[in-house]
Symmetry: C2
Subunit: 141 residues, 2 copies
Amino acid sequence: MSTTIPTQQLVERLKCAGYKITPARLAVLQVIDDDHAHLNPSDVLEQAKQLYPKLGRATVYRTLELLTELGILRPIYMGENTPRFIRAEGGHHHLVCNDCGDVIEFDECMAGDLTKVLQDQFGFEIGSHLLEFYGRCRDCR
Amino acid sequence: MSTTIPTQQLVERLKCAGYKITPARLAVLQVIDDDHAHLNPSDVLEQAKQLYPKLGRATVYRTLELLTELGILRPIYMGENTPRFIRAEGGHHHLVCNDCGDVIEFDECMAGDLTKVLQDQFGFEIGSHLLEFYGRCRDCR
DNA sequence: GTACGTGCAAAGGTTTTGCATGGCG
DNA sequence: CGCCATGCAAAACCTTTGCACGTAC
């Protein structure tokens, strides 16, 4: 499994923050290095284990926590009772169906304008955002 | 504890859907009947127990699930590993601090415009939305 | 009176922690 | 070679389920 990995960028960020690059971390990084993934811890374990079979569940939790602290990942809640992790940067725009749970991503977003307003008004330094609409999809209507 | 409760509206919705009005449900309804609350199941249990001490934890879970099915509540994830329940209607706009976890609500929101675009584009029937910005608050900078 | 709702306790999952071993730098 | 990171197993949590009893309608 050796693409010239785009994961490289993430590896740099770990290194710069003073963390060691281990096979366990590499496996997790490769799995979550997709702007459109939204995996829960068990998904990550399962997929990363294919890259590094010795990987343990606790390590996945520890790595996900680390990546969240570094601002690389963000946990979101999609209705079931486990968190799902998505890339923290930029924006995520979801259309969630209340009936079948399907999630559609869309691009349009006007959050950029608001970002500046909010930074000024509340003194917040804003790094990313999540915009979700809830309703019923075409098929479920 | 007997205001002329605004909770009345919620009670109606339960009745209409064919559910019995019990003290346990009333207590939970009163606790979550606040557009700005974002409580996790334990919070709800704790607060509702003050209104109805016999209340059990399982009943809180069952009631929260029921209210979610009826479209009255919606679970969201705010970083810890428990869901928090908010009123499902309309929009929720949060400014979340990555460091201290503080949540500020704001009013401005341009999601209304997008709603129509998305309904047309994806055939979705949209009922509500959640817009969250993540960053660091004034105090944590 | 009947069916639905409840509280309790046990079961089922998920997440966290402790600790001896292993491996990155 | 020194620490940090890991895997395993156990502990701690949170959530769900089964069941006999209570109660809204």
